[in-house]
């Protein structure tokens, strides 16, 4: 009797916990849909072709679009990635593939973890003091706030993320691959570039794109570095626009017409992030399939 009751209790608890787990997953997805749904609801009515192709007019009644900011975000993320991805991946390789130098890799891994938790506004202050002010002094003011400074601040956020993700992904590549490659007479560099990195390609690419998604949504590090601009510019030596800065300016400003543009801007930013995330999925799954086939 008591034994079957215990059995019944065991089974009931299991069913309840099963329901709770399903509930947890549904809750997260419900929250996502609520947030996205709200943002689409307030933003979609202000989305138009003009929004994507024109720049701000300064006139409240007819505020123009965000073409400059869309371009700005794309260029800033591209520049930041040009700095951050090679450095991050190389640092990740060092952390994963040079265990013999654990005296250095241990503390470095720790420092990278600390850097991923730095509040982004602090990164902006650092960018101002270490890039904007010195460069301004050096060029006698002709270059001060700039897209380069903004990209540097974003790269600062990107590097530790890419480094740690790359490291984790490289560790998942079985040791036997490396040994096999070395046994065939390949050098360490050849092994890393022809065997280990391709083996972890999907994961490394996912990490890079996640980092890109993260920096595309950052406002605070750009406030004191890229500064923002209402002009269409593709020259990163000037104060540089970004979607987040323009959204922030409009969302905190007084005019409802501009606020509506801010909501539309958030929607465009989300759409861009969605495309990035979708490509992560496709890249990762295609790569996984290729490896399965190989």
């Amino acid at each position: 009797m008591s034994r079957s009751f215990a059995e019944f209790r065991r089974r009931t608890i299991s069913s309840i916990m099963f329901a709770l787990c399903a509930g947890g997953a549904s809750l997260i997805i419900a929250i996502l849909l609520l947030v996205i749904g709200y943002l689409v609801w307030i933003g979609v009515s202000s989305l138009s072709w003009d929004f994507l192709t024109t720049v701000p007019t300064g006139d409240v009644a007819n505020p123009g679009g965000m073409r400059h900011a869309i371009d700005g975000t794309i260029i800033l993320v591209a520049l930041a990635s040009a700095i951050g991805v090679p450095i991050g991946v190389l640092a990740g390789i060092y952390l994963a593939e040079y265990p013999g130098e654990h005296v250095a890799t241990g503390p470095l891994r720790f420092l990278a973890d600390v850097l991923t938790g730095v509040p982004s506004i602090v990164v902006g202050i650092l960018g101002y003091e270490l890039v904007v002010v010195p460069v301004s002094r050096w060029t006698h003011g002709s270059v001060s706030f700039s897209g380069y400074a903004g990209a540097a601040a974003l790269a600062f956020i990107m590097i530790p993320i890419v480094a740690r993700t790359t490291e984790e992904m490289l560790r998942l590549v079985p040791r036997s691959y490396r040994e096999g490659s070395l046994a065939l007479g390949a050098t360490r560099a050849q092994t890393i570039f022809r065997v280990v990195l391709p083996g972890a390609f999907g994961g490394v690419a996912t990490g890079i794109m996640l980092a890109m998604g993260r920096i595309a949504g950052e406002t605070a590090p750009l406030l004191f570095t890229a500064l923002g601009s209402r002009l269409l510019t593709h020259n990163p030596a000037e104060p540089f626009p970004s979607l987040t800065l323009q959204i922030y300016t409009y969302a905190t400003g007084p005019y409802p017409e501009q606020k509506r543009l801010a909501w539309a801007g958030i929607l465009v930013l989300l759409a861009m992030l969605f495309v990035v995330n979708l490509s992560i999925r496709i890249v990762a799954s295609r790569h996984a399939r290729m490896r399965m086939g190989a």
Binding site: G24, I28, L115, G117, R178, N277
Partner: protein, 380 residues
């Protein structure tokens, strides 16, 4: 995928057992080997330099912060950490004697000037409590969702879609959450959730501190109900919880996925229920899960934009979760842009330095915990 110290096996699990040893046999082969050596050396130094840059980044960050925060560090010292007064403006007021009478000189009130005062205790409190509450809310949900993603979703063929949605949630910018929190979450709490909690908990004796506060204004102390605004520590913690859900969930999912199938199948073969096998899985991955939680905690402590919009931004220490509070990051977001006065600015950067130091200490503790467990369990 996200970096986590805990999810990774120890360093010796991968890598190089031995340098390839070969003896050169001919001239051309020697050339090939020399070139290969050069290639290895170049790669090695490129990697070392890149990794060294990480150290340089942190050092320069600390150097700039210490340099800018120095006036405040010199002025307040360590007492900054335990002082709870934060007032950016100077106050000029008449001096009163012990009996509360105005002190007069030549018929005019004697004035005293209170200089601005800066202390970090309220924001340290606010950061600690809001991050803790966020974890309390987010961790059970995240862990259960991770279990679902690993144990159930693949069978239903929705693992890919569900994972995608959760990772997309991680990419939603803080600004977007802030807008949603300000215009949806805060009014919802003010109109419905707050009054409802009030009705349930207020009659319970001993919970009065949750709903009443005493305020001292112009020398009088009055006890009054805390206005239910929806912009308080509780709502701030909730939005933090929502924002760390995806990261904790996706890292936990990766950790659980790495648990060997044999572990699960073994327990099932011994007659364990579905849940008991899940518990075994969770126990097996506990150090990695702890890492996931730590990552969430770091994210919560540093989160700025969204929490600023709904935490109420009041530099006070109130025991009630329904009183407005302030975190270190939201303090910076509120005050940095307008802080022209030198000591004010320096004090804000001092706060940033404390936040960085906390994150540093935090990582040390987490690492100790995780490494200690791996060592004592004797696995690997």
């Amino acid at each position: 995928m996200t970096p986590t110290s805990a999810a990774s096996p120890p360093a010796h699990a991968s890598g190089w057992s031995r340098e390839p040893t070969q003896s050169p046999r001919s001239k051309s082969e020697a050339g090939v080997i020399r070139r290969a050596r050069i290639g290895d050396a170049v790669l090695g130094w490129a990697c070392r330099l890149s990794a060294a840059l990480i150290a340089l980044m942190l050092v320069s960050l600390i150097a700039v912060l210490v340099h800018s925060a120095w006036p405040a560090m010199r002025e307040f010292g360590v007492g900054f950490l335990i002082s709870s007064e934060w007032r950016a403006n100077e106050i000029e007021r008449p001096v009163r004697d012990a009996a509360g009478q105005l002190m007069l000189r030549d018929g005019e009130a004697v004035m005293e000037i209170l200089p601005p005062a800066f202390g970090a205790l309220p924001v340290i409190w606010g950061t600690a409590v809001s991050s803790f509450l966020a974890l309390v809310i987010a961790v059970p949900i995240s862990l259960s969702a991770a279990v679902f993603l690993v144990r159930v979703a693949p069978r239903l063929r929705i693992a890919g879609a569900a994972s995608f949605l959760i990772e997309f949630l991680a990419a939603v910018p803080s600004l977007a959450f802030g807008v949603w929190a300000l215009f949806v979450l805060a009014p919802l709490f003010q109109k419905y959730v707050g009054p409802w909690l009030h009705r349930i908990f207020e009659p319970i004796p001993g919970l009065r501190w949750m709903f009443y506060e005493s305020v001292t204004v112009a020398g009088r102390t009055i006890e009054r109900p805390i206005p239910l605004t929806g912009r308080d520590l509780f709502t701030g913690s909730l939005i933090l919880a929502i924002m760390i859900l995806p990261i904790v969930t996706s890292v936990s999912r990766d950790v659980l996925r790495a648990v060997p199938r044999t572990q699960i199948e073994g327990t099932l073969a011994l007659g364990a229920t579905w849940w008991q096998s899940c518990v075994a899985m969770l126990r097996y991955g506990r150090s990695g899960l702890l890492g996931a939680i730590m990552l969430g905690l770091a994210r919560a402590a540093g989160e700025t934009m969204a929490v600023t919009m709904v935490i109420g931004n009041n530099n006070q220490i109130s025991p009630s979760p329904f009183a407005p509070a302030q975190t270190m990051a939201s303090l910076l977001a509120n005050e940095f842009a307008e802080a022209t006065e030198g000591l004010h600015r320096a004090s804000l950067l001092y706060v940033a330095l404390i936040l960085l130091t906390m994150s540093l200490m935090f990582n040390v503790v987490a690492r100790r915990l995780v490494v200690g467990r791996i060592a004592s369990s004797g696995s690997h």
